[in-house]
């Protein structure tokens, strides 16, 4: 059967803004890259995707990313905006399975008609996201969300792919995130557009905020913002909302990031295909050169004629 016939029903439900169809579409993208690109192109050809504003939320495990999102998104619902949320948690390097537990913190949002929430496993990706995230963003734009919010896995210092995937990155920090030396390190501390110190209900927060202020007063970071919030007590989050709305208004079309995203999509496509080839390949009797040629042959066969 041709792919057009196979997915005809799904595509028409998707166009009617059926969340179940969106959910199926995302599974399809996660599991089958080859057909998903065709579907994405068809959706985009039929109607131009929304220019959704993509906000990334990152930070170490347990700093309160999910709890922050639950309170943050509530503020946008008052203005009737449509919000798509993607929550990523790590896949096991041993079993390939995952325990996806971000949704627990935002169950109140589940029944809101304007919100869609999807939990994803990282499936071997090392940048803090999953390899299919860029394609998933494309279908979410086609679904017509005003804002797309992406939460990374509990991120370490080099898990910075969120920078490329999103228009705006919020780094959540906890007051016990270490001393000043940690703040000056490269990587994740550099990629944020705004810093949020969560848990200001904790007594250690005052000292940490002073250290952060000193850091941001250096010339390079002068335009970046710092917010202290308590997600638990729902304090200070409205200020971030106002600031982000201002940023969205002033946002320019980001040609550089769009270029990078396109390249990463192609790269991830090949990585997925090659990984699938390697899983099913017996390596026992072949040396490394034979193996390379074998993979190349199968790669051409898999994606040939396109």
């Amino acid at each position: 059967m041709q792919w057009q016939e196979k997915y005809e029903g799904l595509i028409s439900k998707f166009k009617a803004r059926d969340k179940a169809a969106l959910a199926k579409m995302i599974s399809l993208i996660e599991d089958n890259v080859v057909d998903s690109w065709k579907i994405i192109s068809k959706l985009q050809a039929d109607s131009p995707p929304k220019n959704s504003y993509i906000i990334g939320i990152t930070g170490s495990p347990g700093v309160g990313k999910s709890t922050f999102i639950s309170k943050f998104v509530e503020l946008f619902l008052e203005s009737d905006e449509k919000i798509g949320i993607i929550l990523i948690d790590p896949s096991s390097p041993f079993s390939g399975g995952a325990f996806l537990g971000d949704r627990i913190r935002m169950f109140e949002l589940t029944k809101s008609p304007n919100v869609y929430i999807r939990s994803l496993a990282s499936r071997g990706a090392s940048g803090g996201l999953c390899n299919s995230i860029y394609d998933i963003i494309e279908v979410m734009k086609s679904f017509g969300f005003d804002k797309i919010i992406i939460e990374t896995v509990g991120a370490g210092q080099t898990e910075i792919e969120i920078f490329y995937a999103c228009d705006f990155v919020i780094l959540i920090l906890s007051p016990d995130s270490g001393d000043e030396v940690q703040i000056f390190k490269a990587g994740i501390m550099e990629i944020a557009d705004c810093y949020v110190v969560n848990k200001i209900d904790l007594p250690s927060s005052k000292k940490f905020i002073v250290q952060m202020e000193n850091f941001l007063n250096s010339e390079k970071n002068i335009q970046k913002k710092l917010f202290g919030v308590s997600s638990l007590e729902n304090k200070g989050i409205d200020k971030i909302k106002n600031w982000i709305e201002l940023q969205q208004k002033e946002a320019k079309d980001n040609a550089v990031k769009n270029e990078i995203r396109k390249k990463i999509r192609v790269k991830n496509f090949f990585i997925n295909v090659i990984e699938n080839i390697l899983i099913n390949l017996s390596t026992e009797d072949s040396d490394i050169f034979t193996l390379r040629n074998e993979v190349l042959k199968l790669l051409c066969k898999e994606i040939g004629g396109e």
Partner: protein, 133 residues
């Protein structure tokens, strides 16, 4: 290509004891599945809506409160209402005499205390795979 099984482990109703649900979720994780855990005290409406948004291949309910007949009936009827075909299994403190009624309303499998993790993992796998194909 790479088809992963996605399941949701959910706790409907008012009991707040979720050690069992977490152990099941972890066993399924270790068997290579992607497990979405809902946390405790969810309503049937929340569970069904979340399962649809997450496009899971199976819903596993954990109920220790004794309200299993009412909660399961509600969840099954909500799934029918939304025209979603999603297998539902149940685990917890379930009296033997209630099991026929639960199966009749559409619960595919009922696991009572003492069932081995292995048995649960294998059954979940085969039920979920049947939907996936």
């Amino acid at each position: 290509m790479d088809k992963k099984i996605r399941v949701m482990i959910a706790k409907p109703g008012l009991d707040g004891h979720d050690r069992g649900a977490k152990i099941i979720a972890r066993a399924l994780r270790d068997a290579g599945m992607e497990v979405i855990y809902t946390g405790i005290r969810r309503t049937p409406e929340e569970i069904v809506e979340a399962a649809i948004q997450e496009d899971v291949d199976l819903i596993g309910l954990s109920i220790l409160s004794g309200a299993h007949n009412i909660l399961c009936k509600k969840i099954i009827s909500l799934l029918k209402e939304r025209e979603v075909e999603m297998p539902v299994i149940l685990g917890g403190i379930i009296p033997e005499k209630d099991i026929p009624e639960l199966k009749e309303m559409g619960i595919i499998e009922v696991f009572t205390p003492g069932t081995s993790l292995n048995e649960i993992v294998e059954k979940v796998k085969s039920i979920a795979m049947a939907r996936k194909v």
